[in-house]
């Protein structure tokens, strides 16, 4: 269900969590590259645009610490997602408490398995003594409300996770014209979205603004890259808007901004102005990005 509240930014229900998340989620990794005063301003800027869903992780430098002050000031207005890369019970429990301490809050609304990559990891987190045991215990104790998972690995593995984790309420995964155009006969991220939607699982899109890998370091040194993302992001306002509209029109609950703070304001503006994208334009973007690594030879037509 999509609604546009007075704040002006459309919201969509985040699966069974019941939370009406704004169509953009603030990826608080952006705060890592700002001093505290700038981080405070950034949070106020994001909230001024009506954004009500934030996402952070202990691996984002000191983003948790920098988010803390404004998070505590506006705690009621923010649905807070956090995550852990720990796969066993003890590690996950320790990291959750550490995040609660660093953020300075009593509860995290959504706690996610961060960056699932391998089948063995899925086995470990779902087994006795696995991370999910700590998640569920924390939920029973009121330290978290909902359980989610994030991954930019094999879509088939993410679908397995949906099948194996009954109380999974959200998924975070890549969505952009490049991944939609991939058609290698295997499950794609579109299939993940379909499966999640069918199971009433909330969906958060990442990599929506990825343009491609950085040039090799002998052509462009890491220290000379103009953005902090580990991929080269699109960065013109029209491109940002196009990519936002594409991702949001695929049916995701919410689209996460790229991690570079220079890009956040453009994403907020795109989200505020979002009004859908017709299918012919979506196909146009997919087609534009198809072909670079397609096995089909150079052709005159589409």
């Amino acid at each position: 269900m999509a609604t546009v509240p007075e704040s002006g930014m459309e919201t969509r229900t985040l699966g069974t969590t019941g939370h009406d998340s704004t169509i953009t989620t603030f990826g608080a990794i952006a705060l890592n590259w700002l001093e505290q005063e700038g981080a405070n301003q950034m949070v106020e800027h994001v909230l001024d645009h009506g954004v009500n869903h934030f996402d952070v992780a202990p691996t984002y430098g000191d983003a948790e610490l920098k988010l803390g002050p404004k998070l505590r000031q506006h705690r009621e207005d923010i649905f807070l997602g956090c995550k852990t890369q720990e796969r066993d019970y003890e590690g996950a429990k320790r990291k959750l408490h550490r995040s609660l301490d660093r953020l300075g809050v009593e509860k995290i609304d959504l706690y996610q398995v961060h960056g699932l990559e391998y089948e063995e990891e899925l086995d470990e987190i779902t087994a006795d003594g696995g991370a999910l045991e700590a998640f569920r215990e924390a939920r029973a104790d009121g330290l978290i409300d909902h359980i989610g998972l994030t991954s930019h690995a094999d879509p088939g593995l993410i679908i397995d996770a949906v099948d194996e984790i009954d109380d999974l309420e959200t998924l975070m995964f890549p969505m952009n014209p490049v991944v939609v155009g991939q058609d290698d006969g295997e499950d794609g991220y579109e299939d993940v979205l379909d499966r999640a939607t069918e199971a009433d699982i909330g969906t958060l899109g990442i990599k929506a603004f990825a343009d491609g890998p950085w040039p090799p370091t002998d052509e462009l040194a890491e220290s000379d890259r103009p953005f902090c993302n580990w991929y080269e992001p699109v960065h013109r306002p029209d491109e940002i808007r196009e990519r936002f509209d594409f991702a949001a029109s695929q049916g995701l609950t919410s689209v996460v901004n790229p991690g570079d703070p220079k890009l956040v304001s453009m994403v907020l503006d795109a989200a505020r102005r979002y009004d859908g994208m017709d299918e012919a334009t979506q196909r146009s973007l997919v087609e534009q990005h198809r072909g670079a690594d397609s096995p089909v030879p150079q052709q005159l037509h589409h």
């Binding site: 058609d183 012919a280 146009s284 087609e287 072909g291 096995p295 089909v296 052709q299 037509h301 589409h302």
Partner: protein
């Protein structure tokens, strides 16, 4: 098999499953791939271009019991009357000049069985402001000089609709496949190559300046999203 979204979208409301199909003008076999993916019983991929025939054969070779690539001129399509249930002309008409288009339309109608379906996907004429028009202009100039015919003609959907109606096809629907059409660097380079190939057949006094102009225009265009690709669907009222 990699099926472009354009083809998948053009076919998704057509009764392809179990049908005998013809891809008229196979190109690299995009529609053939789409028809096979949509569970066609049999697909004839017809093209007069040896490179296209080879590429399509390579692409669908794994499905040899369902797909047959035939190298032939569509103006004399080597299939019997009333033998095909679904015909696709995916990005075909723009490479046919008016005389060839009319002859091909007659042949597609002849081989189509009563009640057959026809899908015609093509490009609306480009807007005046589109830079890529300059590229198609030099491609056409080279082709006119070398072969006395245009390489490309972008027919409006409304015109093709009336043309096929004249051959007895009942109009079913129009869809927009791409808007705008992304003419990527790869497409621009492919058209520039086609233009250079035509120019290479000319004598030096024409070849040299034309080739230089092709290079200049291709470089200036780079890539551009412009125009519209549409899909028309018809059925044969018989």
């Amino acid at each position: 098999m990699d099926v472009p979204e354009t083809v998948a979208t053009a076919l998704d409301d057509r009764p392809v499953e179990g049908a005998v199909c013809l891809e008229a003008g196979a190109g690299v076999g995009n529609a053939t791939a789409g028809l096979l993916a949509a569970d066609a019983d049999r697909v004839y991929a017809v093209t007069d271009d040896p490179d296209h025939a080879r590429e399509t054969r390579q692409r669908v070779g794994g499905d040899a019991d369902r797909a047959a690539v035939i190298r032939a001129d569509l103006r004399a399509t080597p299939l019997p009357d009333d033998s095909v249930e679904v015909v696709t002309a995916h990005a075909l008409c723009n490479v046919l000049d008016p005389a060839a288009l009319s002859a091909v339309a007659a042949e597609l109608t002849r081989v189509a069985a009563p009640g057959a379906h026809l899908v015609v996907d093509d490009y609306e004429p480009l807007p005046d402001a589109a830079a890529v028009r300059d590229l198609f202009a030099v491609e056409n100039a080279a082709s006119e000089l070398a072969e006395s015919r245009a390489a490309l003609t972008f027919y409006p959907a409304a015109m093709l609709r009336r043309l096929f109606a004249g051959f007895g096809w009942a109009f079913d629907r129009r869809r927009t496949l791409l808007n705008p059409v992304p003419w990527t660097e790869r497409h621009v380079e492919a058209h520039a190559d086609a233009a250079r190939e035509a120019a290479a057949e000319l004598d030096a006094p024409l070849r040299k300046p034309l080739t230089a102009e092709i290079d200049r225009v291709a470089d200036a265009v780079g890539s551009e999203s412009a125009g519209e690709m549409y899909s028309l669907a018809f059925w044969l009222d018989g």
